[in-house]
């Protein structure tokens, strides 16, 4: 061992300390600038009437008072609560039921559930809602047309109504709920149920008194997240609810910002603050429910046993899965596909691929497709990278850094996309040095990333949870410095989760509507906006074709990724086999 004199060790220790402090400061400030500061704009915006750049803005409580005294606001609150509670409850329960079916029972089609849910998640809500309108609008929805030609009834369904809104939103969030809870159901000790049946309880009693409550944290966690997502969701309430005069926070905020001239920012921000308050309440409620309870009991050898034999009920569940598949995937996507073939939507004559060729020939739409691809891929990458970094900090650090980081990450959850976009626009305008960002694709990309980070954070948390700190410590002990450990161990282990997270994030971004509507610079119209514009201008068929192209592209990426992974695994397996033979 070489003898190193204490003075140089001391110097090195000092330098390391300084560098470390500097890096952390950059991290903290960066996070503050990107996540915390812009959002503080909404508080400011609620009491200052006008753009921050305007020369003489008034400080006023008028907007706030107006918003709070308007009965419309309270109707909105009521509508939002109904939607959040009903859809949240339905989606969570159904998600839990499906997760249970998948992991604990012998229902024949259960293995199809996970792929089904994942595919489902890939259909951005805008496309999905669009499909439902084509299917179920009161006058010429496909379902109504069929019903008319079959039974001669005038109007069979109307999705632009409370019922339709609740149905489609509940259906739409089931995949999310399922995927959030699947792990909990998979990891739960099945002997909990067995203990109940030994104790004399029948299957249903067991399910209700033991199975469901025992996944309490996952259940309430999923419910909270989904409720927050529903609270902020925009597409369905906008396209389905608004025509039926059902206004919720997101559409009402949108209304204040877009439909009134001049825009009523103070009112919009006041509503946004109420949303933030509701989100805080929701999280608080969940924490309260779980307070002082740990749900981890001892787990020994997990009993990997035969799935529960359900008897005839399993055919009922099979039908349920089929209905779900039909309602959530086959019907809406089928409708969009059919629509994309019609020259004039709803007219069954002359079906052709003309819409597709026209899109691909139209330089503007083609550019829009290309741009969306770029923004999604790049934005997804950045979002996933940021999410990994921050989740890592949350996981490995304690005290201020941890609290601060998770707070910063949490902020975008609490804000509807349109408010987020507005807050960032205000922030950019208020900050002298960065005004130039306004109207650039960079700003739109940034906000898209910020909005996507919380979702990626969920994925990153799962990935990081499997990364035991000892794996890194073993690297350090082996003589590798922190950077090398990061490169050769941490990042390498995270690659698979990173790739899947990246893909999801890209899709999420490609389907985002709220942010680009406000921030997209001219010539940088992402597909979601282009499609909505087409739709609103009555060009339904072209919009449908545009959706199909995006989905098709995503499917190709997915297929490629799947094929790569499959062949990779095959290679890996062969390697193991070979090793096994001579080992």
């Amino acid at each position: 061992m070489t003898s190193v004199d204490i003075a140089s060790d001391r110097r090195a220790s000092r330098t390391r300390a300084v560098v470390r402090r500097a890096l952390w400061s950059v991290f903290v400030i960066g996070l503050g600038l990107l996540f915390v500061f812009p959002v503080s704009m909404i508080v400011l915006g609620a009491v200052r009437d006008g753009l921050p750049t305007a020369p003489d803005v008034r400080w006023t409580l008028d907007g706030m008072v107006a918003a709070l005294t308007q009965s419309a606001t309270w109707t909105t609150l009521l509508n939002s609560l109904i939607l959040v509670v009903v859809c949240g409850a339905v989606a969570t329960t159904m998600g839990a039921l499906f997760a249970w079916i998948r992991t604990n029972t012998d229902v024949p089609l259960r293995r199809a559930l996970t792929p089904l849910m994942i595919i489902n998640l890939f259909v951005p809500p805008l496309f999905y809602t669009f499909g439902w309108i084509m299917l179920g609008n009161a006058q010429n929805g496909l379902i109504n047309q069929w019903a008319r030609s079959l039974f001669g009834t005038q109007q069979f369904v109307d999705v632009q109504s409370w019922g339709g809104l609740i149905l489609t939103m509940s259906l739409g969030y089931i995949p999310f709920a399922y995927l959030l809870m699947q792990g909990a159901f998979l990891n739960r000790d099945q002997s909990l149920d067995e203990a109940a049946s030994i104790a004399g309880a029948r299957t249903w009693r067991t399910f209700l008194t033991v199975t469901l409550p025992s996944v309490g944290p996952a259940l309430t966690g999923a419910a909270t997240l989904i409720m927050v997502l529903i609270l902020q969701s925009f597409e369905s309430p906008y396209l389905l609810g608004r025509p039926a005069d059902i206004h919720v926070f997101s559409t009402q905020i949108y209304h204040y910002i877009r439909d009134t001239t001049p825009a009523e920012y103070t009112s919009a921000f006041t509503l946004a603050l109420i949303v933030v308050l509701l989100v805080v309440l929701l999280f608080g409620l969940q924490r309260r429910l779980l307070r002082g309870r740990s749900f981890t009991t001892l787990t020994g050898k997990s009993s990997r046993r035969d799935p529960l034999q359900l008897g005839p009920v399993r055919w009922l569940f099979t039908v349920l899965i089929c209905v779900f598949l039909l309602l959530n995937l086959v019907l809406p996507l089928g409708a969009v596909f059919l629509g994309s073939l019609q020259p004039t939507f709803g007219v069954m004559r002359n079906l052709s691929f003309d819409n597709y060729t026209r899109i691909l020939a139209d330089p503007m739409l083609r550019e829009s497709l290309e741009l969306t691809a770029w923004i999604s891929v790049a934005g997804g990458f950045v979002a996933m990278a940021v999410a990994l970094l921050t989740s890592y900090v949350v996981l490995r650090r304690r005290g201020f850094l941890r609290g601060y980081t998770s707070f910063a990450m949490w902020i975008p959850w609490a804000l509807p996309g349109i408010v987020l976009a507005l807050a960032y626009m205000f922030a950019v305008l208020a900050f002298p040095g960065v005004k130039g960002l306004y109207g650039t694709p960079l700003l739109m990309g940034l906000v898209l990333v910020v909005a996507t980070v919380p979702l990626c954070g969920r994925l990153a948390e799962g990935a990081l949870a499997q990364l035991a700190p000892e794996l890194e410590e073993a690297g350090r002990i082996s003589g590798a410095g922190p950077v090398r450990v990061l490169g050769t161990i941490v990042l390498r282990l995270l690659i698979p989760s990173f790739l899947s997270g990246w893909f999801l994030a890209a899709l999420f971004i490609s389907g985002n509507l709220a942010i680009p509507t406000l921030l997209a610079p001219p010539g940088f119209q992402p597909v979601a906006v282009a499609a909505l514009t087409l739709y609103l201008n009555g060009d339904f068929s072209t919009a449908a074709a545009l959706f199909m192209i995006i989905l098709f592209a995503a499917a190709i990426v997915l297929a490629l990724a799947g094929a790569t992974m499959w062949s990779g695994r095959r290679l890996g397996a062969r390697r193991t086999e070979a090793a096994g033979l001579h080992g």
């Binding site: 000790d189 002997s191 909990l192 067995e194 203990a195 049946s197 309490g216 309870r293």
Partner: protein, 395 residues
């Protein structure tokens, strides 16, 4: 108090049978342990009895009632069998308090009001947790959770209780104490108990009878003493802690003892045999490390040999020696009392000493020429590597 009779029970997973035509009778009030290595089918047997698994063929009766008869399509589900079960993971319901956990079987059984409270209190008192009723189960230590699981299994006074490795999550000290409690509750409530473990010490300390299983079949069945002293096969011997099993050829026998010339080493060892194989027959000799003693007699007899100490490990009350006797690796355990009696220090590595194997302790078992390698699991390489290393070094 119920007798459990299993006849011709087979359980297949897919086409792979995990249990092959098992016949077992567990007498009323008996404490029977199923013992065997991982994957031998213990849990499957237990779960079939409890109703958590459906046998592929055969029948099971509990007391007067046939609960499974595959040929006649009888299958009584677990909730109708009135049994209790303690799971390895305890399977306590994390969303319920201790009280709620223990009272659940009573509640389901429709026991109400005062009686429920009384029986709950009794069950908790029996496991010494009377004061913990209000606690969430997650706020208990491992041993306490274990006791809640016991109380829950007992609460509805089932006639049969099944235990699937209930102690394997506890540390060794606690394990012993909890095992004592399981047994004491069995005695007190006079239930019939079927207990699964892969730990021979646990099986020996707790059971009235031990059933050693191997690959879905019964290998040996007897009292703890019988199994501890007189394993009938190399498999059982290995499992019961006979850490030396050597094969050889019978060279003589008399008065229940048989002399065996050990393969590959110029050594004759002696051991007990229930039925003496004829001279020249192949056989194996199994003996415990504690059957090896330092030989202080001058004369050489069958069973004595000189050996080099390869490694000496202090155990506190005894010393473990790894010996090389003419190329044969022997594991010995010498009590400190013995060393003191002989006035010896702890033998150091490299020392050459005379040893002998107690002929009344060692047992002759059928030689399993093919199966012999299986008996010592692959992971013993670790220790054997030490011997190999020594040879490499001395070469």
């Amino acid at each position: 108090m119920t007798e459990v009779r299993v006849s011709g029970m087979t359980k297949k997973y897919g086409s792979k049978p995990a249990i092959h035509g098992l016949d077992v009778t567990i007498r009323s009030g008996e404490f029977v342990t199923l013992l065997g290595p991982s994957g031998c089918g213990k849990t499957t047997t237990l779960r079939c009895m409890a109703g958590l698994e459906r046998p592929s063929s055969g029948s099971i009766a509990m007391g007067e009632r046939t609960v499974v008869d595959v040929a006649n399509g009888v299958f009584v589900p677990p909730e109708k069998r009135h049994v209790g079960m303690v799971f390895q993971s305890y399977a306590l319901w994390p969303h319920m308090s201790v009280d709620e956990n223990v009272a659940y079987p009573l509640k389901v059984a429709g026991v109400r009001g005062g009686e429920r409270r009384a029986r709950l209190a009794e069950a908790l008192a029996a496991v010494g947790l009377a004061e913990f009723g209000d606690r969430p189960v997650t706020a208990l230590s491992g041993g306490q959770q274990q006791r809640v699981a016991l109380a829950r299994a007992l609460a509805a006074r089932p006639s049969v209780i099944f235990y699937d490795e209930p102690l394997s999550n506890l540390d060794s000290k606690l394990r012993y104490a909890m095992g004592q409690q399981v047994r004491s509750l069995h005695d007190r409530y006079e239930t019939t108990s079927v207990y699964v473990t892969h730990d021979q010490e646990e099986a020996i300390t707790l059971s009235d009878r031990i059933i050693v299983m191997n690959n879905g079949r019964i290998e040996q069945d007897g009292t703890p003493e019988e199994l501890y002293d007189r394993p009938r096969t190399a498999y059982v011997a290995d499992f019961m802690g006979f850490s030396n099993i050597v094969t050889g050829t019978v060279v003589g026998s008399g008065s229940g003892l048989v002399d065996l010339r050990v393969d590959g080493a110029d050594l004759v060892l002696r051991g007990f045999a229930a039925e003496a194989p004829g001279s020249g027959a192949r056989a194996a000799l199994a003996f415990r490390a504690s059957h090896v003693h330092i030989d202080d007699r001058d004369s050489r007899r069958p069973g004595s040999f000189d050996a080099t100490v390869v490694r000496s490990t202090f155990l506190g009350s005894a010393v473990n020696l790894l010996l090389d006797a003419n190329g044969l690796t022997v594991r010995a355990r010498i009590e400190r009392a013995e060393l003191e009696r002989l006035g010896m220090d702890r033998p150091a590595a490299g020392a050459v000493l005379p040893f002998s194997v107690s002929g009344s302790g060692a047992v002759i078992v059928p030689s399993e020429e093919a199966g012999a390698a299986d008996a010592g699991p692959a992971d013993e390489d670790a220790e054997l590597a030490v011997v190999a290393e020594r040879h490499a070094v001395t070469v």
